[in-house]
Symmetry: C2
Subunit: 339 residues, 2 copies
Amino acid sequence: MDLKQLSASLGLSPTTVSRALNGYPEVSERTRERVIEAAKEVGYEPNVTARRLARGAVDAIGIVHPTGAGHLDDPRFLEVVDGLTERFSKAGIDLLIASARQKEEVATYKRLLQGRRVDGFIVHHTRRVDPRLDYLQECGAPFVAYGRTDTPDSYAWFDFDNALGSSLAVRRLQEFGHRRIAYMHAPLELHFAYQRYQGYLDAMHAAGLPVDPGLVVPAGFGRRGGYEAMKTLLDRAEGPTAVIVDNNLCGVGVLRCALDAGLKIGRQLSLIVYDGVPVDSVVTSVQVTSIEQPTSYAVGVQLAELMIGVLAGQPVQELQTLWSPRIAAGSSDGPISEH
Amino acid sequence: MDLKQLSASLGLSPTTVSRALNGYPEVSERTRERVIEAAKEVGYEPNVTARRLARGAVDAIGIVHPTGAGHLDDPRFLEVVDGLTERFSKAGIDLLIASARQKEEVATYKRLLQGRRVDGFIVHHTRRVDPRLDYLQECGAPFVAYGRTDTPDSYAWFDFDNALGSSLAVRRLQEFGHRRIAYMHAPLELHFAYQRYQGYLDAMHAAGLPVDPGLVVPAGFGRRGGYEAMKTLLDRAEGPTAVIVDNNLCGVGVLRCALDAGLKIGRQLSLIVYDGVPVDSVVTSVQVTSIEQPTSYAVGVQLAELMIGVLAGQPVQELQTLWSPRIAAGSSDGPISEH
DNA sequence: TTGTATGCGTTATCAT
DNA sequence: ATGATAACGCATACAA
């Protein structure tokens, strides 16, 4: 059943039916009701392809994720996608998911855009200098970045105040009396990792604490990496009394290692982990103090909201969202104590 | 640059240019070369929306995943998606991802289909009786199921020989001399869980081993569930000498629990886990014997391949793929021994 | 308030 | 081998 048939069955022109269904004001209420009723009755659904061609907009947003990049298994990604689709579907927007080998990323954006497969993009895992954003800005394509680059003024973005999270953690540990505060991080070319790291450095300096390079350890994104990194720290002559970990899978490994070493968490070693330790962890004895952020689902919804703003032509300066993390206190940190 | 402009610049009609680019045979080789050259030169990309409208096909496949269903955080899902997009993109097919609350799943399929947003679907996590497949068959929509239902003859599907995997595990343990073989499983309304469970039962019977209902434990999809379930088993007067776990996150929990209880894995307790224990686990001392299946990426590629067959009108009976798992021996199982 | 005519960028049909 | 013309199904400028 298409528009022509529907309108014929009602004795109206396709134009009027179209207007009635799309909420145009110049249709009489009586007619609108009749039309909507009939449309529901016969189960009419407009052909989106035709509508798209006529309107020149696709009502689809793309999200490109790098193949074999390691954060593929990031469970959060799917949660974000969930928030995106939820919000987008309300606006009649489709979410297109594409994958690209890391070298071909920009080419993929180009292909999707030039074939008019999408109106714009959600770009995630931004890097400090990011050729994808450069390309999209160059050709004026709508996009929202999940995470800022070094030059965040000229586009729409969502981000957490990553530096703040680390600062809060350092300040808290410092108030407990810690001085030797270790820091474990994901690769620093990822901007969130970089920002969190900067927050750590700044807060350490502000607190007048020395930063021992040996206590700053790249530990990647995984449990295993965290475990190994922690083992290295524990082997040192002068180990840390507290550890901050910039991502939670890594944090699980750190916790595990500390427990295996027989340390009393919260007394002999203080631990603060970004995003906390996942609910589905086998470790239940310790409630890990965490730097807490809104759920990834909420992030997805917000990203979609921003995208809709961009598509509506809102100035990008109004479309920059920064959410602040906060500390959720657990039992994994406290004053220094030797027993 | 659209088709009209391109053709004008070549002094040809849009028709000829279209034919040349789409590989129609009735174009002279000379013309074709000229056209392809020019198209590349100016970076012409056909407008897919217009093409779709003209051809009446969307070249897009949908995948609907249930919101808040617990397997959202299934890392494998993204790997499958990766394989799908990879294969689909070669065929010029888009992958649309939508989410739906569990009650609204069928309605979502309906909406996507009637609005001609997609040509067909990949349906995953099939249940033994699955209203989604019923609906899609009813309205004749193309789809490929990842997992069979109770009536698998009339549609295209991909599946693992789930029963076989459990049988292999039971047989192996039986040959080691085990008799009290426990089985932990995900919810049985998921067909893969049901099939694996049936394989366990059948193999136990075939081996002449008694099935103690107390040794068959629903343990869900997570580490925590596995940990708790294992604790329950260990508390029993007559516990198992071997455990089979039907999913690997759960298996991590089981392993952890057994280690915490001080058991020597492979001697005091044998363990076989579907898909093995994830590489990024902190447990490195034990190499878990696993029921091994091809990667989820490969599954994705195969699913896409099947879908392309369906769209091409191939008979569904030729589009049913069953892959067999095999045992990858590790150090987590062996003959019974008390020390 | 409603209808007519035209356009969106392709592909397909039927000539030539 | 190439071209003119008509779909594809909807939205919209313009007319009534």
